[in-house]
């Protein structure tokens, strides 16, 4: 056989680098494909049919019409939370898939819950229902579900409940001199704080003035119990001694502190006797609880930053984020727990910690907030990019948290899939498939969800049309080395999650529901 035909040299195609969808099809490099679908890359020079999918629920009815799935690490296992849309197309139900044989739920059922944000914290899951709203320009914008709230799920199959809670509403505590003990004598104001099972502390309530004596303790009686079944403790809080000459009678106008050991470890006992303390023992401030949300409005995204829960885009304040106290995810101060980007009609879409900064995104804008040790409302904002941002599920999830891997984020922008290390690295990771990416419906970017599977060295990106875009980065995570291929299924995929290190979960829904009135 001749080595070449006349004027033609044989070509050897021994390298397959995936889809090339950039510019004219005739410019496709020889080691790329002008078209490809449902293949996977094996080594540098081989391809084969993509792996099939298997069912993830065995011996039980499958949870239908999956819209969203999140990895949910409980105290003892990796599990899933999934949102299913009921047949009526207007009601969302969240289920807890413990393993392939056990499903709890629905743990939360809400009308109009088209999507939800979720963040695990201390074995619990914080859940925020949201949906897309059409703005006056016909664009979908995602905001917390109107009139709805942040929920917390304990992970045990019991129904999710509203996060935070109300202070004790009524009653009067009886205060008397107790047995021998010690206090700083003088006027104190005492109050009661309830603590829920998730550690949330309600604002002080039932304030009472009482004058203590130097060598006597204080006893409390007739302490009301809470009607909230999630209350597990009640604390007595107190002010330091108030000079009677300046006391103005305002029982709410003084700083409260938790009294050490003045805790009733249940919601049944109505007395607490012989409490001794000195003013110098009053260190743990309780005053800030007065300004906390008792019901936290729902938002479109949740994140953690410096052990604070961050909730983005509540319905009424879509350009703001609510930031909790450190270590108290349900304690969000209505005054100084708020950070905001300049309102421009576009809600916040996402937020993520990276290198000790909180990066906050809109659909086409990115800023950073710096935790300067002050309250969140005093954190300075730094503009990062005024053209690129992301969507509500547009930051790649790494294992069990939507977060960075190896000091960078993988972010879906209108430009493409980009690496972000404090700035968007150019060219974008999806440079080779720019035409493909630009053909996606921007108004449906809320459906994009990304998972990074470092073991497989692959990204899985659920696209608005139900396909899954796979990016293999075995040869390096840079625009030239990655290999792209779309995958299709006989059912449209709507969500992706990663479980147990390298198990890729896909959720499927009916297209019909994508056209439902709820799903604008």
């Amino acid at each position: 056989m001749p080595s070449s035909y006349r004027d033609h040299n044989p070509l050897v195609l021994d390298s397959f680098s995936g889809l090339w969808a950039r510019g004219d099809v005739d410019t496709t490099p020889l080691d790329h494909f002008a078209e490809c679908v449902n293949i996977k890359f094996v080594g540098d020079s081989s391809i084969e049919t993509r792996d099939g999918i298997d069912i993830s629920q065995v011996g039980q009815p499958p949870t239908p019409n999956i819209v969203r799935a999140y990895n949910y690490p409980t105290k003892d296992s990796n599990t899933l939370l999934v949102l299913s849309i009921k047949d009526d197309g207007t009601t969302g139900e969240i289920y807890h898939l413990v393993d392939e044989h056990i499903t709890y739920g629905p743990i939360l059922t809400l009308p109009d819950m088209m999507d939800f944000a979720c963040i695990p914290y201390a074995g619990r899951a914080y859940i925020s229902p949201f949906k897309s709203y059409l703005n006056d320009k016909g664009l979908n914008v995602e905001k917390g579900l109107e009139g709805e709230f942040l929920y917390v799920y304990a992970g045990d199959g019991t129904a999710a409940r509203k996060a935070a809670g109300s202070q004790l509403a009524s009653g009067n505590i009886d205060i008397a001199i107790g047995g021998p003990g010690h206090t700083d004598p003088g006027i104190h104001i005492f109050a009661v704080v309830s603590e829920t099972i998730s550690g949330y502390l309600t604002p002080p309530a039932l304030n009472e003035k009482f004058t203590t004596e130097a060598v006597q303790s204080v006893s409390f009686g007739n302490i009301p119990t809470s009607g909230n079944p999630n209350v597990t403790k009640r604390h007595i809080v107190a002010t330091k001694v108030i000079d009677p000459k300046v006391f103005n009678g305002d029982l709410n106008g003084y700083q409260f502190f938790f009294i050490p050991n003045a805790t009733i470890p249940n919601n049944t006992t109505i007395f607490l006797n012989d409490v001794s303390f000195f003013d110098q023992d009053l260190i743990d401030d309780a005053t800030h609880l007065l300004d906390n949300y008792e019901e936290i409005p729902a938002g479109a995204a949740l994140s953690l930053f410096h052990d604070r829960l961050c909730l983005f885009a509540p319905f009424d304040l879509p350009s703001t984020a609510l930031i909790s106290e450190i270590g108290e995810p349900e304690a969000i101060n209505k005054i100084n727990g708020i950070i905001a980007m300049p309102p421009d009609g576009n809600p916040l879409t996402n937020g993520q910690e990276l290198r000790d900064l909180l990066y906050v995104f809109k659909r086409s804008r990115t800023v950073a907030f710096i935790d300067n040790g002050e309250e969140p409302s005093l954190w300075p904002m730094v503009s990062i990019d005024n053209a690129l941002g992301t969507c509500v599920h547009g930051i790649a999830t790494v294992l069990d948290s939507g977060s960075s891997t190896v000091d960078y984020l993988i972010v879906a922008t209108f430009q493409g899939i980009s690496l972000f290390n404090g700035r968007y690295i150019s060219p974008e990771l999806s440079w080779k498939i720019e035409t493909f990416w630009n053909a996606l419906d921007r108004n449906q970017f809320r459906r994009i969800q990304i998972v990074n599977a470092p073991i497989q060295k692959e990204l899985y990106i659920v696209l608005p049309d139900g396909r899954v875009l796979c990016c293999n980065y075995s040869d390096g995570m840079d625009p030239k080395s990655v290999c792209w291929v779309p995958w299709t299924y006989v059912v449209p995929m709507s969500t992706v999650a990663i479980l147990n290190i390298d198990e890729i979960i896909l959720g499927a829904r009916l297209f019909e529901l994508m056209l439902s009135p709820m799903d604008t």
């Binding site: 790329h32 490809c36 069912i55 299924y489 959720g507």
Partner: protein
């Protein structure tokens, strides 16, 4: 894809109804026959008779007409919309069924010939299948004349039944209707619905395979074969690949709705059937559909190509990627799974040349 539509009401089929008097008590009623006389129905026109015969004499209104007038749909016009590629020619009757409009209004020309105050009491027009239309201008005090009225719907009518069972319309009058007041003409329903598309492929006349593509994931299909022993069975030699072929759907179970607009394109060895779904219906299980080919063959008439079982399944759920798995295992029903071929793994290189 959003499409606009218009259903033109065609031939009048039958009419039944009853006037009942609600005031004063006791309730008086008349027979359907009397109502029949009260309604004069020329082609495509409804005459609203606002009186009824009771006890040998015509009685004034104070009653409601609770009857129905059945129409057969003359045609459905499609117009507007985006990405519509002319599959439907807008002339012939459209084989459409089972869709539910996103929006719909009933339009009509009402000609009021009697200028009586009571004529305003044409209050409601309701389909006997749930659609209720309300004439917003019904309160006009002096209504003689011709009125183009729009009845806004407050319940979505089901077009499948409108088409296959005819349109049933109830004219609901109000008080003091005591004479024939006029006609309603040019009745049509117009609105918008959603279309999705999937494609089936016939690889040979006696073996029909359907392939779901990405646009139609919720629907899978199965292979059927025409009965070779059937003397009417169609075979390849009978088919003219250059001529258009009409394909008919016949449901064995009319209660299950197959929403589709279909067209067929022939190639030498392959017949492409494009099926435009008008909003997916969440039917489940296998739905037998008789496939008939008409025309485009060397003979006249119609032959049964076979029975296609379309498997409507709710394949939604939670899945996991399984390394090394060669098929996709899909939930088909609550306790049933089915293996599906991985949809056409494909590669295509760019231009190779020197």
């Amino acid at each position: 894809m959003a499409m606009n539509f218009r259903i033109i009401v065609g031939t009048v089929g039958s009419k039944t109804g009853m006037w009942s008097r609600s005031q004063p008590t006791p309730i008086e009623s008349c027979s359907p026959y009397e109502i029949y006389e009260a309604l004069i129905i020329p082609d495509n026109q409804i005459v609203v008779a606002a009186w009824y015969l009771f006890d040998g004499s015509y009685r004034p209104g104070n009653g409601l007409f609770n009857g129905s007038i059945n129409f057969f749909v003359g045609k459905i016009e499609l117009y507007g919309g985006e990405s519509w590629d002319g599959i439907y020619d807008g002339i012939n009757d459209l084989p459409v069924a089972g869709w539910t409009p996103v929006t719909a209004n009933l339009f009509a020309t009402v000609v009021i010939t009697k200028n009586v105050p009571s004529a305003r009491q044409i209050l409601n027009v309701t389909t006997d299948l749930g659609g209720t239309f309300i004439w917003d201008d019904a309160s006009d005090v002096n209504p003689e004349g011709t009125w183009e009225v729009v009845y806004a719907y407050n319940e979505v009518p089901d077009a499948f039944h409108l088409l296959t069972s005819s349109i049933g319309i109830d004219i609901q009058g109000g008080t003091d209707l005591n004479t024939e007041v006029g006609t309603i003409e040019n009745v049509y329903i117009q609105g918008t619905y959603e279309i999705q598309r999937w494609t089936t492929t016939i690889t040979s006349p006696t073996e029909i395979k359907t392939l779901a593509n990405i646009d139609v994931q919720p629907i899978e299909s199965v292979v059927i074969e025409s009965d070779p022993e059937d003397p009417d069975a169609v075979d390849f030699t009978q088919l003219d690949p250059t001529a258009p072929i009409t394909l008919y759907w016949e449901l064995e179970n009319a209660n299950i709705m197959i929403p589709a607009i279909i067209t067929i394109t022939t190639y030498y060895l392959e017949f492409i059937i494009d099926v435009y779904l008008l909003r997916l219906i969440r039917a489940k299980g296998k739905v037998p559909v008789a496939i008939k080919l008409n025309g485009g063959t060397q003979f006249e008439g119609q032959v049964l190509a076979g029975t296609l079982e379309i498997l409507f399944f709710d394949g939604t759920g939670v899945y996991k990627i399984s390394s090394g798995r060669r098929n996709d295992l899909i939930y088909v029903e609550e306790d049933v799974t089915e293996e599906f071929k991985i949809p056409d793994p494909t590669i295509k290189t760019g231009y190779i040349g020197t």
